[in-house]
Amino acid sequence: MNPRLHPPATRLLDHVAGGADAAARALMDCHLALCDICAAQVADLSAPGGRFLAAQPALAPPPDLFARIQAQIKDTAPTPAELPFTRALAPYLPPDLTQGWRGALTPGFRFLDLAAELPRGVGLYLVHMAAGAGFPRHRHQGLEEAVILAGGLSDETGQLEAGDWGAMAEGTRHAPRALADADCWLIARMEGEIRFTGWRGLLQRMV
């Protein structure tokens, strides 16, 4: 089954033409794992690159290069063994998913800073919302894009389910809530902070 909501065409082009930062690539990797429609477009757009690579002359690598690669792989973090969502996100995750989670003044909501190498002002987060949990109303101070990894959520703009690509433009407000029947996992790329409304907003400004 394909997702209902897809990234804009410009994001697909960025993905294959080098215009996407690491956070945008993480979102796209997750969406592509669940969407044959966008995968087919990426296959089309990246095909010339493959033809070009296939036509390269093969130079002789230094004899010790593979041993160097093997040594570096041994030092890289292992992939978390069990994931409740697509393994396309695995390369971006820390080895121990039990550590580093933070809350946000609301029960059933937690997030993990994935701390990829990103341009200034851009964040990448793994978000977990317990089934039925809500996140307080807030306003976005920059573009937020997200891909639902498992479960689903709803807000004033509609409902998103696994694989769907959602976007909230700068200045928009919403109060998402996980669907009642399953936990919601999502990955979010944020170009700015969020500002809570109501008493949480007052508290946030004081802090």
Binding site: T10, L13, D14, H15, V16, A17, G18, G19, A20, A22, R25, D29, L32, A33, D36, A39, A40, V42, A43, D44, L45, S46, A47, P48, G49, G50, R51, F52, L53, A54, A55, Q56, P57, A58, L59, A60, P61, P62, L65, F66, R68, I69, Q72, I73, T76, T79, R87, A88, A90, P91, E117, P119
Partner: protein
């Protein structure tokens, strides 16, 4: 536990055939070290040629190839044939990895494009017919489409760098890349 190495036999031959690149990538996704070694043997030389041109003498090509293969090891689990041919998928991983390294370094005045242009005109390869096809298709593109493609898509320039170099807005650059890719695909036909 690594997955078993796939060795399909072609009909009528009775012996094991070389696994396809796609089979290798799928096996590497299962952390199969033998498949990884085979993938390295097939791609390291070509990747070295490509990243050497992208590095323009300012990034050590062997170090770049090392980083690319580490990325391939970590990301191979994402590959599925619906995403395109293995070489197209590996090309994209490679170009993005080199771009990430460029972005992490202080900006330089002029990274030049001579080596990439030279690679675009190269003829010394295992398959001259294939090269002729790719390079002819590139030459057949209008210049205002070819150069954005050479710089950003193949050459590892950021959009911003390529736009400055060509004297066009980033939006225009992206439009031309999209047009060029569409045209290139029709010129090259199916892989």
């Amino acid at each position: 536990m690594p997955k078993p190495f796939p060795q399909p036999s072609p009909p009528g031959t009775g012996g094991p055939a070389e696994p396809s690149d796609a089979s290798l990538l799928l096996a590497v996704g299962g952390q199969d070290p033998e498949a990884f070694r085979e993938l390295y043997d097939r791609y390291a030389g070509r990747l070295l040629a490509y990243v050497q041109a992208m590095g323009r003498g300012q990034l050590p090509a062997e170090d770049l190839v090392q980083e690319v293969f580490v990325a391939l090891w970590r990301k191979a689990g994402q590959y599925r044939p619906a995403l395109g041919t293995p070489e197209a998928w590996i090309f994209t991983i490679t170009r993005n990895k080199v771009l990430d390294i460029w972005r992490s370094r202080p900006p330089v005045e002029d990274r030049g494009e001579t080596e990439m242009e030279a690679l675009m005109d190269g003829t010394s390869t295992p398959d001259p017919a294939l090269v002729a096809t790719v390079h002819k298709a590139l030459r057949d593109l209008p210049e205002d489409q070819r150069r954005p493609l050479v710089l950003a898509y193949f050459g590892g320039y950021t959009y911003e760098e390529a736009a400055v170099r060509l004297g066009v807005p980033v939006g225009t650059l992206k439009s031309r890349i999209r047009l060029a890719l569409g045209r290139l695909k029709s010129l090259l036909g199916d892989p």
